[in-house]
């Protein structure tokens, strides 16, 4: 559609692109003061021809520059400086990273994170794929209703879910323990038991359906080619065999997205832990995200917190790349 616009001068350019391809990131990395002085000089730089384009792009670029790119760059640098928020930061090289690796909570943090990430991915994929299979087999109109009904709880504030599960998991008086009691089973103390605390955190949100992955899987299943399904039906493949030999392999791209999204979510989601156990009992539910939060906002170790934030970022980046590579759709 590009040719039909003779009135758009081709040389139009944004004022902020001079710093290079990632103009905002580089320009804003030099600090808020630098940014403010740049802003003061900016109006003089805008020539009349560029005015329209600049006014269109500037608001959004300013927002992401100041509140996304600058903090991201600052965080990557901040890990190398020891800083308590008051006295001037001192450069300490890799010392804070080393201190974190050698801290007594590092090993339990890694263990808990691995369990949470693995558990979350497994739970999410199984629950949401199964739910999508069920809904995709329903008569069309009913399936449509079921889709909306099942996805609606996604809008509930997470805090509501956390508070509800805090109540459901109460020892003895909570719903789960009373159910277990009625069935004559053991009534564990869930969140305050060192062995079950992490499992309890994973339990929050059962049956884990009302989320993005459900929509992603369902969209994939509903787009499966009718011919392939017809062929499998003629071949007499049963429902279960179809799920494993056709649906699952054909939905490889969807699995990949859901694994990445749920993995990243699990790495970052320390809020239920913050609210329900604060990492305890002992270090049973302590995770790097919570360590980062506490270091910065409770102990004023901003540099140390940013070091952990940087490590988490690298972890998620590596995780994404590995999953995207490993789960590449196999052709032929």
């Amino acid at each position: 559609m590009g040719d039909g616009q003779p009135r758009q001068p081709a040389e139009v350019q944004v004022a902020g692109t001079r710093a290079g391809p990632y103009g905002p990131a580089l320009a804003y990395s030099e600090g808020v003061d630098e940014l403010a002085s740049t802003l003061r000089r900016l109006p003089g730089r805008i020539r009349s021809g560029r005015l329209a384009l600049t006014t269109l792009l500037l608001p959004s670029m300013l927002l992401i520059g100041v509140f996304s790119y600058y903090p991201a760059v600052r965080s990557l640098i901040g890990g190398f400086y020891q800083w308590n928020g008051f006295s001037p930061p001192t450069y300490v090289g890799l010392a804070q990273f080393n201190a974190y690796f050698q801290s007594p909570t590092f090993a339990p943090e890694v263990r808990n994170l691995a369990i949470l990430v693995g558990g979350t991915i497994l739970i999410t994929v199984v629950a949401q794929f199964s739910a999508a299979e069920v809904v995709s087999h329903m008569p069309r109109r009913l399936g449509n209703i079921a889709k909306y009904v099942l996805i609606a709880p996604i809008v509930l504030p997470p805090i509501v879910l956390i508070e509800v599960w805090a109540y459901l998991l109460l020892p003895n008086t909570g719903l789960i323990d009373r159910l277990a009691g009625a069935l004559g089973l053991a009534q564990p103390t869930w969140l305050s038991s060192p062995h079950l605390a992490l499992v309890s955190i994973l339990l929050i949100g059962f049956p884990w359906i009302s989320n993005l992955g459900f929509l992603i899987f369902l969209g994939g299943l509903q787009n499966l080619s009718k011919e392939i399904l017809e062929a499998s039906r003629v071949d007499g493949a049963g429902a279960l065999r179809r799920v494993f030999t056709i649906d699952a392999p054909m939905l490889f791209p969807q699995f990949r997205i859901v694994v990445v999204l749920s993995g990243i979510y699990a790495v970052q989601n320390f809020i239920p832990i913050l609210l329900l156990t604060n990492g305890g009992p002992g270090t049973a539910t302590f995770v790097p995200g919570l360590d980062m939060y506490q270091s910065a906002f409770q102990n004023n170790q901003y540099g140390y917190g940013m070091a952990i934030g940087t490590l988490l970022f690298l972890l998620m980046l590596a995780f994404t790349v590995v999953v995207m590579r490993a789960l590449r759709p196999r052709t032929g």
Binding site: P71, Y148, V155, A296
Partner: protein, 297 residues
Amino acid sequence: MDTTQAMAGHKKRRAGKSAAARRARRYWAVSLAAGAVIVLLTYFPILFVVSNSLKTGRSIFTSGVFALFTQFHYGNYVTAWNGVDRQLLNTAIVAAAAIAIGVTAAALGAYAFSQLKFRGKSLLFMAYLALLMIPWTLTLIPLFLVVQRFGFFNTWWALILPYAAGAQPLLMIIFRGFFEQIPAELLQSARVDGCSERQVLRRVVVPLTRPILLTGSVLMTINIWGDYLWPTIVIQNPQRTTISAGIAEFVNSFGLNLNSGGAVFAALVVASLPMLLLVALTMRYFVSGVTEGALKL
């Protein structure tokens, strides 16, 4: 045409069809039963909360496990409303301001990215895609420092601007995709008719793209409504915070005082209901927006 062949084919198709239909019916039956179970499991906690929100504190713990809707103590809602009404209003104001800024900024940018030609366009757009790879845990601490530096600490600006900024990548991606479908000729003819760029935007683009702007606004509202962590970091005054932080505060204020347990559940309902209503009204926009955003990753 050979009639016998056609008839044989017809017969075969019918036989195949009825077998398929029988199997389809069986699938339906199984899928209906399974669907009922997962809907029940998904909604049980919600039913449970609503039921408990109508009970007095003591009977929440003494009534049976499945004693749903045995009491109707509406006074809980008065207590809950008085506890979080201020925070509900704050959230509405913050969300409205963040949407006004964030959606406007993203719509202007998406218009430029989809309809104008300029140098470095694809590279600039990459700056938005790259943001999808930057997790909020990385930016959390420096964002707090930025907010402090600007003097926004304990003000609504500390919420509004980061929310507006945080929504930019998703909004930009879904807006651009939608804006690209506007035929360039349409805009061109408006320009020929003497519209300025601003008038083109206001009179042609905005009316055509209202559904996607609405989708973006709904997604932002849900995020702001549900965010707990950020307001607890940048807003100290409980009277000035938003609903998720307000709920946590309200729940904590009761501690182990079981007599008021019902009001806690009522507060959870009060915090959830506006979002359920919003999504019930805009479900189609919401679902399409959410899936589109995720699949663009």
